[in-house]
Symmetry: none
Amino acid sequence: MGSAERKEREKHETREMILAAAKKLFLNEGFEHVTMRRIATEIEYSPAAVYLYFKDKDAIYCALQEQGFKELYRCQSVLTAIKRPDEKLRACGRIYLDFAMENQELYDLMFIMRAPLMAFESPEDWNLGRDTYEVLQNIINECIEQGYLKAPNAQIACFSLWALLHGVVSIFIRDRAPMIAKEHRAQVINGILDFTMTEFLDK
Amino acid sequence: MGSAERKEREKHETREMILAAAKKLFLNEGFEHVTMRRIATEIEYSPAAVYLYFKDKDAIYCALQEQGFKELYRCQSVLTAIKRPDEKLRACGRIYLDFAMENQELYDLMFIMRAPLMAFESPEDWNLGRDTYEVLQNIINECIEQGYLKAPNAQIACFSLWALLHGVVSIFIRDRAPMIAKEHRAQVINGILDFTMTEFLDK
Amino acid sequence: MGSAERKEREKHETREMILAAAKKLFLNEGFEHVTMRRIATEIEYSPAAVYLYFKDKDAIYCALQEQGFKELYRCQSVLTAIKRPDEKLRACGRIYLDFAMENQELYDLMFIMRAPLMAFESPEDWNLGRDTYEVLQNIINECIEQGYLKAPNAQIACFSLWALLHGVVSIFIRDRAPMIAKEHRAQVINGILDFTMTEFLDK
Amino acid sequence: MGSAERKEREKHETREMILAAAKKLFLNEGFEHVTMRRIATEIEYSPAAVYLYFKDKDAIYCALQEQGFKELYRCQSVLTAIKRPDEKLRACGRIYLDFAMENQELYDLMFIMRAPLMAFESPEDWNLGRDTYEVLQNIINECIEQGYLKAPNAQIACFSLWALLHGVVSIFIRDRAPMIAKEHRAQVINGILDFTMTEFLDK
DNA sequence: CATGAATGAGAGTTCATTCAT
DNA sequence: GATGAATGAACTCTCATTCAT
């Protein structure tokens, strides 16, 4: 019977619907202003129904976060094809910026939104995040080893670069750059990437 | 009438008291735990009294935001005493980082939080923010003019630097750096400032 | 100004209204089936208003319990006028039975209802209850000392008597004696008191 | 048809499983924590399945109540082996106390709880309860007839004794004796049984 | 017979806000 | 100007129960 299969699929689809609705609402109004009721209403279910798919509000948040980290990690996977560490570094920045600007809801959730503490409590929960961070760290290490980057401390260099990338996108996502019109954003981001790479990379 | 004046002054003082109380509570207990009632209790007024001085909760947010920008601008004023642009730039970064880490909830309100935003609706409201930004822009310009910094585009350079500073502090404020223990934060921040200045400034 | 006084009085009256409503509902439906909403509706207030007078549901329960113990203790105060311990003992039983049957709501709350744990957690909270219990214990002690009662253990004797009294009234209050018509209850209670005193007291 | 019979038997068995699960949960986790869902989970059925065997939650309560009375009656059956009425009376008390303390939630359901009560609406439903009560009444009658007990009214004597037994256990079950540590309960109960029998029985 | 999915009703509680005084 | 009292609207979450399959 394909019946069981179909049910399985439907169940999965409902879960996805909930996540999509939550994602949308979280972005528009922030985690704490989104209510379970509104998520339910959004998908035309009763509030209680949501609890059949997620233990509580935090669980929805966590699921979305996981989704986000997996997606980001997936985007980073193309980097393995690049050989030169300096090119790799630039591509890594590019990917990060693109991911953030194209998935603003998810990015906000992953890196900006005040999280339910639980989400970061256990170190295991951070594994996904760590993986994506290590991609950058490894590239930085390679750059240093192969003389593309002079830095007394690889970790500081890595954190600085991440901070810069995060700073750019979070300023835009949270609308703190009214001096830059929306239509110029892409251009500015390109400029920053160029400038940064020039400054950071030697030769 | 001196009486009218006195009343005016008293009114102003009460406003300031409310703001001071709100700021203190935000810092000590975090944003979501501050209610109108707690603000009122803090200053030993009734909740209703607060509404005589502020239209609603958002109005308090906005006033604090304004205060934050003024305070940051005030901090930046010591920069005029520094002559060499490169030293000025480093000091400017230092000031920004310190301000953010010492007034985390205020910084959050100014640059991260989504909540009120009303303050950003009219361009005039942005003047304060612009002023503080221009301090950085002017220093960057000086650096370029005097050869301390090579950058094809002064605005891009400025935005990049701001992004880096903002990135660092907002990662900490929103607790996205579990790999760095709280007691090492200051150290890391110093490292980043050193590294950044070395990379960005030529000679 | 009598205004402040009047307000004080009104506030007190509202508290009493809430307690009265809660008492009535608790009896009819049991603690766990009574909702704050229903209490509020009963007195034609909003649910939130109840919280201005009582911290939470448990606080209402505790206040009623306190009320009950105070009232019972007050009823017992007439016993001091009686000299002979055997007469005192009988009177004490009488008072207990009457109190229970005339204040069934309160009695239920004090001795039967599943209590919010908190109500009995701290030993201080039990002081009131202990006081009323000691009245019986003291009388029993006197009876033994003066030869009206032979019992190897005064505490066991006291607990037994209390158990009997409590047993009788709680069977009635929780309607477990369908074999005894309501109109015969008083009579049966009298019979039990007589019988018990005869059996327990020597000579 | 043997098939119909088998089905009947299976249906009965499932009913019993549900009751057993419910009883176990009541005892282990207390009344208010038992939900239809938990009962269903316990027997590895779906919540909906339970409704095929019981109209609603109350029906389960009632069935358990019935079971409780049957079980108590069964416990009392050993009494027929005892000849001397005074020994019989003491044994009857012992059995009652033990049953109550070993099946506290069941006893609660039978004699204290307000919840279902449906079971007491029709007089027929009381037959079971009456049977267990009559066991005690008959023993009391024998005691009186054979001179072990002097009582002007056998019914009053019986009710008094029941009240005492019920009083003791219900004080413990509903936690109203904080002056007696849990580990002393058994001892106190023994003391009460001794004391009571000494006082009530002549010779 | 049994279930997965869903829901309506409602629980206790909190908060920004108002208004008569 | 200030307040005590009050409220409406929400909040998250739970539970007994139902119904299409």
